[in-house]
């Protein structure tokens, strides 16, 4: 009992020393606006770590955890587009620039880093809003992803169903 208490304390202490925060809630949504139908999918099992002292941030999401309106869409998404059996995760690893952790309220920031989807990695710059409040940090961002950049090919027979650019929206609470 005392031992487990010690270990828990250590966990807490450790995260304080490094000023690393693990996300309590995370969601990543993508939206494809195409001529036949709009497609939205949300993943609420996304996780993240943010290091307040250095600005380093990382996100990790399991492709198979995206929820769709239609079960067949989820199957096609995993099977045909993302090939989630080969590439089960998508990640972002980077650094958030120019923020002040002592200022409360919203701050416009830029994150620079590497986005990995479908086994392909690309450097991106995205803008977003970070907000420091009494005991939580929130991060919001929205950016466009070109499917071609990540070698996600649209089957010819499905061309009108999926947009070539999808909008990705992320929200994390630490």
């Amino acid at each position: 009992m005392r031992l487990s208490l010690c270990i828990i304390l250590l966990f807490v202490a450790e995260s304080l020393i490094a000023q690393r925060y693990k996300s309590e809630e995370g969601s990543i949504t993508f939206f494809s606006d195409a001529s036949i139908e709009d497609i939205t999918a949300t993943n609420t099992k996304a996780i993240s770590i943010f290091d307040v002292s250095s600005g380093e941030v990382a996100f990790l999401v399991t492709i198979n955890d995206f929820d769709f309106d239609k079960s067949l869409m989820k199957e096609h998404f995993n099977e045909k587009y993302m090939e989630s059996d080969k590439y089960p995760k998508a990640t972002f690893k980077g650094r958030i620039m120019d923020y002040d952790s002592k200022v409360k309220g919203d701050q416009e920031v830029t994150a620079k880093g590497e986005l990995t989807i479908h086994g392909q990695t690309k450097s991106i710059n995205v803008t977003g809003v970070i907000s420091f409040n009494d005991n939580r940090i929130t991060m919001d961002s929205s950016f466009m992803v070109e499917l071609e950049d990540f070698n996600v090919k649209i089957p010819k027979l499905l061309w009108q169903n999926i947009a070539e650019r999808v909008e990705v929206t992320i929200k994390f609470i630490y």
Partner: protein, 292 residues
């Protein structure tokens, strides 16, 4: 003392994590999930027989199956295209694992109904399950000949049933196999050359050649054919084409069967003698109940 040692070890360990990059740190924090295999087969049919697939919750599938006459029937019969055997069917997913279906075929003007349940789901992650198993129970009613034309042919005689246990494995992302022990029971048969109970082993496979195209094959091996049986084992080859909510299956088979009874127990053609029917199944998927 030992506790202190442990604490020191812990500090060393956590520092080691802290020095790793953030992605590895995240991977360590991930909760182990469970990933179920999807799309072991493209459709709810491999060729003539049922596949291991079930519809998702709230999905309604309309499936239109068509077999032409025999290709070796010659030019007068336009290589079989003059004849048509049709089944219209609907299948609905009550849950992701439980489904029901109905259909009506031109063969003996038969109505069929079935219920299917996915007993086990192939998965990786926190649960490692090597197979998917779906149990299917069906009933069939012949409505030909009409009762007023043939009063001796009672309702009981018109009925047949089947039980299937479809066991499948998606061996890799391109290749899936299923094996189906099954039984067909017909209440009324011609005792001279037919069994009331037919046991058979179905074998089905599919190989994906592109993301939207697959080649399929199927064989039903009858375990206890009647000594005088003039029937054949049903077999077929097919090509699956998937386009969003549609699956098109182009088929070459020796069977005119469009439901389990007629496929397993009433297949007439000899595939290797050229008694081959061209045909297709077309399915269209409708999401009736939306998740959000």
């Amino acid at each position: 003392m030992r506790n202190y040692l442990l604490v020191i070890l812990c500090i060393v360990f956590f520092n080691a994590i802290a020095q790793d990059d953030l992605i590895s740190a995240l991977e360590l924090q991930e909760e182990p999930g469970i990933t179920y295999s999807i799309q072991t087969f493209k459709g709810t049919r491999v060729i003539n027989g049922q596949s291991v697939e079930t519809k998702g919750k709230g999905e309604l599938e309309f499936i239109f199956s068509h077999r032409f006459g025999r290709i070796n029937s010659g030019s007068y019969n336009f290589w079989g295209l003059d004849d048509a055997f049709v089944r219209l069917g609907l299948e609905y997913g009550i849950t992701d694992r439980l489904g029901v279906g109905i259909g009506r075929s031109s063969t003996d003007k038969t109505f069929d109904g079935f219920i299917r349940y996915k007993v086990l789901r192939q998965s990786t992650g926190s649960v490692n399950m090597p197979f998917t198993i779906t149990a299917i129970s069906s009933g069939f009613v012949k409505t030909s000949p009409r009762a007023k034309d043939n009063p001796q042919f009672s309702m009981i005689d018109r009925l047949a049933y089947s039980l299937e246990l479809v066991m499948a494995r998606k061996i890799n992302s391109n290749f899936s196999l299923q094996i189906t022990p099954l039984m067909v029971h017909r209440n009324a048969v011609n005792q001279f050359d037919e069994n009331n109970d037919d046991l058979a082993l179905g074998l089905g496979g599919r190989h994906k050649i592109t993301r939207s195209l697959s080649i399929t094959g199927e064989y039903f091996y009858r375990l206890n054919p009647h000594a005088n049986s003039s029937r054949s084992d049903a077999m077929g080859l097919g090509l699956d084409i998937e386009t969003g909510g549609h699956v098109f299956q182009l088929i070459f088979t020796n069977s005119l069967g469009l439901f389990t009874r007629s496929v397993v127990s009433e297949t007439l053609g000899d595939f290797f003698d050229g008694d081959i029917h061209f045909g297709f199944n077309i399915s269209r998927n409708f999401q009736l109940i939306h998740k959000k």
